[in-house]
């Protein structure tokens, strides 16, 4: 097999066996849904309803503010019981709309079905924006922004991210197995919007069943399936582009700078729903897994479902939880509480117990250079982290700290367990703050 990959990176134990064979299951609605308007990269949406309003599934409850922003929709029908600050996955209380479901789960009447062949690219983009579609891999970057390259940038390749390189997560894997028709339909819509033919789905070889199924289903549509060597962080845009096409995104640039648009396979399925069925993004597939969970599952959840409720569907906890992670173990966010709602970027919920976590105090850097060898951007994490520790902002910037994608490879591999990514992220913040000042 022709296996491609990128330079750098590593291969942590993928631990996908917990949930890889569990079909997607619909999670019943909880007693209340907490929907924060800040669910995507860019300006948070603005709440446009009031306490006491009756809402229907798919109704806009917060409108987009600015170009890099999308509206937020009610995930079910019911009554708005509160608009108040609730604990957000970011770790602090942020405003949120609390909806009490009425159990009917009724769709908004004004939602219309469309035939993508009847619409032009701009109309399709508008529908995608209005449906609140964001990158479902976890980054939650508004999809319509990626599909609107500025004048003069020629896009010739669409890459679909079916890599799911984060250990534990299997949501995309199951989507590819069970929802391949929707995914392929979404890809065709994207090809129409971007006006291009070449579409490549990148899948790692640890998902042979998905590769086989998609290769079979994609053949009539002229979509290429590219098996990739298992390597983290292959799902990061720039690494995936390198792996699939051999092109390099320039420093500080975007994938469009080398003629590529990358979308997640989950996003494609959501786009298909949006156009064909008129349904905005109100639900997603999330993997509930980890050694601390009795029955790991892949759940189809309504946005705003609390982590506790998701957990209850999976047989509950097996022991005392010590670490709750939303997303994958490498780049996901540690959560303070199980009361946090799942949002559009919640690709998984991982629970670890104390005995599952390696706990070591960090020691001094022994200059082994492993972080340098695994860095997919080819930076020197240990040097930048040392500058970060001493707040040497200019030196860190000269070492290209801003190019770091925060994939976590360096921290994972560090034998001294130094908090490298955190240090680099910290100094990145300082660099950007300094730039704003000047």
């Amino acid at each position: 097999m022709n296996l491609k990959t990128f330079a750098g990176g590593l291969h942590p134990p993928d631990s996908k066996h917990y949930s890889a064979n569990k079909p997607i299951e619909r999670c019943p609605l909880p007693d209340e849904l907490v929907i924060p308007p800040a669910q995507h990269i860019g300006a948070p949406a603005e709440i446009c309803i009031n306490v006491g309003d009756q809402v229907k599934k798919g109704q806009v409850i917060a409108t987009a503010k600015g170009f890099v922003s999308v509206p937020v929709h009610a995930s079910t029908s019911g009554m708005v019981v509160a608009i108040e600050p609730r604990l957000h996955p970011m770790g602090k209380p942020l405003p949120a709309v609390v909806i009490k479901p009425d159990g009917k789960d009724q769709w908004e009447d004004s939602l219309q079905q469309h035939d993508p062949d009847q619409l032009n690219a701009d109309e399709l983009k508008k529908l995608i924006c209005a449906a609140g579609i964001v990158g479902m891999g976890g980054a939650t970057f508004p999809a319509h922004v990626k599909l609107s390259p500025p004048e003069g940038k020629k896009i010739d390749t669409l890459i679909l991210n079916g890599v799911e390189c984060e250990p534990f997560l299997t949501a995309d894997h199951r989507m590819m197995l069970e929802e391949s028709e929707r995914i392929i339909d979404g890809i065709n819509i994207l090809r129409k919007i971007l006006g291009l033919e070449t579409a490549i789905i990148g899948i790692e070889v640890n998902k042979p069943d998905a590769i086989e199924k998609l290769t079979r289903d994609c053949a009539p549509h002229g979509i290429q399936v590219q098996p990739l060597k298992v390597q983290y962080p292959q799902g990061a845009e720039k690494q995936l582009i390198d792996a699939c096409t051999g092109r390099q995104v320039p420093t500080g640039g975007l994938p469009m700078d080398c003629g590529v648009v990358v979308q997640n396979v989950g996003t494609c399925a959501a786009i298909s729903d949006t156009i064909r069925l008129g349904r905005p993004l109100v639900e997603r597939v999330a993997t509930v897994t980890g050694p601390g969970i009795r029955e790991p599952k892949n759940l189809l959840i309504a946005i705003g479902t609390s982590l506790q409720h998701m957990l209850d569907q999976c047989g509950g906890l097996d022991g005392e939880p010590a670490k709750i992670i939303m997303g994958g173990p490498m780049m996901g966010q540690t959560q303070l509480s199980l009361q946090v709602p799942a949002i559009r970027g919640t690709s998984g919920l991982l629970i670890f117990r104390e005995q599952d976590l390696p706990r070591k105090n960090f020691g001094p850097c022994i200059r082994c250079g492993r972080c340098v060898s695994v860095c997919p951007i080819h930076l020197q994490p240990t040097t930048i982290a040392a500058y970060a520790r001493l707040d040497m902002i200019d030196e860190a910037e000269n070492n290209n700290a801003l190019d770091c994608i925060e994939c976590g490879c360096c921290t994972y591999i560090c034998p001294a367990t130094l908090p490298l990514v955190q240090s680099i992220r910290h100094i990145k913040g300082s660099i950007l703050a300094k730039r704003r000042k000047i």
């Binding site: 770790g91 706990r359 960090f362 520790r389 908090p419 955190q422 240090s423 992220r425 910290h426």
Partner: protein, 280 residues
């Protein structure tokens, strides 16, 4: 003998003449006041004045760009000296000292999550607003300690920043780096301070800190007018510096012991005695 005297003397004469001519010809004007001011500055190059170092500040003052009172580390003495160099009247200056308005160390304040990361308060603050439940207390990772140019901040063994009043010069560097604004500048002659920074209501504070101000007004009832209570948080009434008599009485009356007397350096009876002097 003569040859030696003559030739060396000749070389010396030539060199001296050359230097003398050059000194005249290539003379660069330097304001003598600049040198005089530099002379009286403390020379710590701390940057409290907003200039990169003492020489930059001296130049600024001499050129009239900088205020002669901007050197807070030097205090009244230096300001007077600068004023006399400039030939102006010295402005009365109330010496300031920094106070960490928090007593919530690892023992007394509740921890929200276990923080395993970069030892830097600003980095920790970015993660879910810091590892302590209190939204405004000292995080105890020692960023101020490392920033202080005068070694005036020490961390206790239970990770609380404590300011050594003898060493503190009031340069405000620590105030600038603290992500939670828990360090305040106070007039040096006031020795009684409320050591809490949280505006939360009393019940909430009791939930996460044994020693926070709950806004009960008892201090102000004991010594009327000596304290100001805003949003459930008291602070000494710094505007009435001369009317703060008997303020010490409030120290014993405070139910949560968050008012402390600093007149003898570190207040007795608290966890304030720094024990980590030799920390790396």
């Amino acid at each position: 003998m003569f040859a030696a005297i003559l030739s060396l003397g000749g070389i010396g004469l030539v060199a001296a003449t050359a230097l003398g001519v050059a000194a005249k010809k290539f003379a660069v004007e330097i304001d003598p006041r600049e040198l005089a001011i530099l002379e009286v500055l403390p020379g710590a190059n701390c940057g409290a004045c907003g200039y990169p170092g003492c020489s930059g500040y001296a130049k600024g003052v001499a050129e009239g760009k900088a205020l002669p009172t901007a050197c807070s580390p030097g205090g009244a003495e230096v300001i007077e000296a600068i004023a006399s160099v400039l030939g102006i009247e010295a402005v009365t200056f109330e010496p300031q000292v920094a106070v960490v308005a928090c007593q919530g160390d690892n023992q007394k304040a509740k921890v929200k999550y276990r923080y395993l990361g970069l030892t830097d308060c600003n980095a920790a603050q970015k993660l879910a607003d810091g590892p302590k439940t209190c939204p405004s207390g000292c995080l105890g990772l020692g960023t101020c300690e490392r920033t202080c140019p005068f070694d005036a901040i020490e961390m206790t063994s239970e990770n609380l920043a404590v300011i050594n009043r003898d060493k503190c010069t009031g340069c405000e560097k620590c105030v600038a780096v603290c992500p939670r604004q828990v360090i305040r500048m106070t007039p040096r002659k006031v020795t009684t301070h409320v050591l809490c920074n949280s505006h939360d209501k009393g019940a909430l504070i009791r939930g996460y800190c044994q020693i926070g101000c709950i806004g009960c007004h008892i201090c102000n009832k004991t010594v009327p007018g000596a304290f100001v209570i805003e949003n459930f948080l008291a602070h000494t009434n710094y505007e009435k510096l001369d009317e703060l008599e008997d303020i010490e009485l409030a120290v014993t009356k405070c139910p949560t012991k968050c008012i402390r007397d600093f007149s003898s350096g570190y207040p007795a009876g608290s966890s304030f005695v720094p024990t980590r002097n030799d920390a790396a």
